[in-house]
Subunit: 157 residues, 2 copies
Amino acid sequence: MAKYPTKFYEDIHVGDEHTTETYFLGMEEVLEFAGKYDPQPMHTDPEKAKDTIFGELVASGWNVLAITMRLMAKSNPLGETPLIGMHLSESRFHTRIHADTNLIVKAVVKDKRMSSSSAKRGYVNMFLETFDADKDVLLVSQNWEIIVPVRHEIKPM
Amino acid sequence: MAKYPTKFYEDIHVGDEHTTETYFLGMEEVLEFAGKYDPQPMHTDPEKAKDTIFGELVASGWNVLAITMRLMAKSNPLGETPLIGMHLSESRFHTRIHADTNLIVKAVVKDKRMSSSSAKRGYVNMFLETFDADKDVLLVSQNWEIIVPVRHEIKPM
């Protein structure tokens, strides 16, 4: 994975864009994740899924959200500055998600503001979109508010 | 787990409350989940975590969100009607979350509305709070908008 330079609050600007690597979500992971975290037949059992409102097996949206986190963390958009979410909002599932899909995430900085209680931290709002990388279809979108140190306060990861 | 009667849109009312069973989040799961989905040192490495802004290992918030989904799915608040999230919002992390914590979820129905495009479906807004069950400390809160069939449209899970 590419290593980007470490960014502090001052280095992050509205409009900054970031695109991750891709991640292959296979059937084995779909079934394993759902069995553990979203145990409902439309996510866990290809046969029983036929009788659900989906009519087929679909991935848990939480699995795709978790992979979105992985793709962002692995691609180090802020270098050594960690991605610490304080507030996640507007997560929308735009279409059903099948197994055997290559996922990719595109993120853009929408807003930033200093903390009202500390001169050491600020908040950055990012809009994230997770796509089927092969079909270029939007699957999930969401907003993250992350906490970011100002330059003189960073600690190593 | 308790099996509740199957609920359709008509059976769900603002103010309805639901409390799940508890789930033990141990260190092994914290490390495994983070290694896969949130690979950052504050979540994956007890030693390196000491040098992060947390100063100690903390669970990934996504791990707790995923367990929240599990607790809801396993406790069947709507009986055979699945929990299908369309829109997740206002997920807030209220305090750091440690390994070896018993988690419990309390949910309350905040709003409901019929679909504007189909007489077969409605939307139900639920407010969920995930607590440390032993210390009664709020860890994560969020809103779910789920899609629910009206009575004559249900298919079996």
